[in-house]
Symmetry: C2
Subunit: 155 residues, 2 copies
């Protein structure tokens, strides 16, 4: 295992991670919606024009899943990104042609008192498109191993 991953000890409030990008197209939006969120505004542009969305829009859960993909690739946390929960908001929908990028900031780092070999980091991620419009914000709490445990586990 590489030492370049971030352990609890390596994280601090204000630290930022910027992801790579993911280009969204209509086929991806429709494919996800057919599997998980088959509502007219996620499936068909013409039907979507007659709704609040005014045109084809990705499921919020598709935006969330793509955010996770970008976060996993761009945020090398030791032990992986294991969320226990959080708050999510979708200020505007993801559209065909959007180029997503995730900007993440570490909000808080707390070592566990009962289990000092780990702790909780709170991350706030904004998912933006190529016009820097915010499509999603999410605040998640993740479990992160402390360095001593991590090195032991990697041995």
């Amino acid at each position: 295992m590489s030492d370049s991953r971030f352990y609890l000890d390596d994280l601090h409030s204000g630290q930022r991670f910027i992801s790579e990008t993911h280009a969204v197209d209509a086929a991806q939006i429709i494919d996800f919606a057919q599997q998980f969120d088959p509502q007219p505004f996620h499936l068909d542009d013409a039907a979507a024009r007659r709704t609040l969305f005014g045109g084809l829009a990705a499921s919020g859960w598709h935006t969330a899943a793509l955010t996770m993909k970008l976060l996993v690739a761009g945020t090398p946390i030791a032990g992986g990104i294991i969320g226990t929960g959080g708050e999510i908001a979708w200020p505007r929908p993801t559209r065909p042609g959007d180029l997503l990028r995730v900007e993440t900031e570490v909000i808080e780092v707390t070592r566990s008192k009962s289990k000092p070999d780990r702790g909780i980091a709170t991350l706030r991620s904004e998912t933006k498109n190529q016009r820097h419009e915010v499509l999603q914000t999410i605040t998640v709490r993740i479990v992160v191993p402390a360095r001593s445990l991590g090195q032991q586990a990697a041995a």
Copy 2:
């Protein structure tokens, strides 16, 4: 359009909706993870045994997406289920063999003061497996048209 859908006027605090079920298997878990959350504990049972999860576990976003699928099929809200955001928690992971069911309760219904043709309903959904273990809770605020507008739109 059918009149059997629920408009804002038809929703009240304490109302409950129970979904159909969805059977999760390892292939679905791995397929979702390859697309959106490619971490070892979501991709490979042997690798997952060496992590906090102790065996193959679905991405939380997969549980969220399957919850949406069950919610959309089982909760006929007029205008569709359009979430603006909410709070999510995963008390335990979804596993291969789990049979998911979503139990939803209406928590609050508020008509918009500025736009009386619509309002916000707050729904709390629990996603449970066949042992009635809670895999996910989510509280979401959705935009719901009032009946007058809905009937006008359906005309």
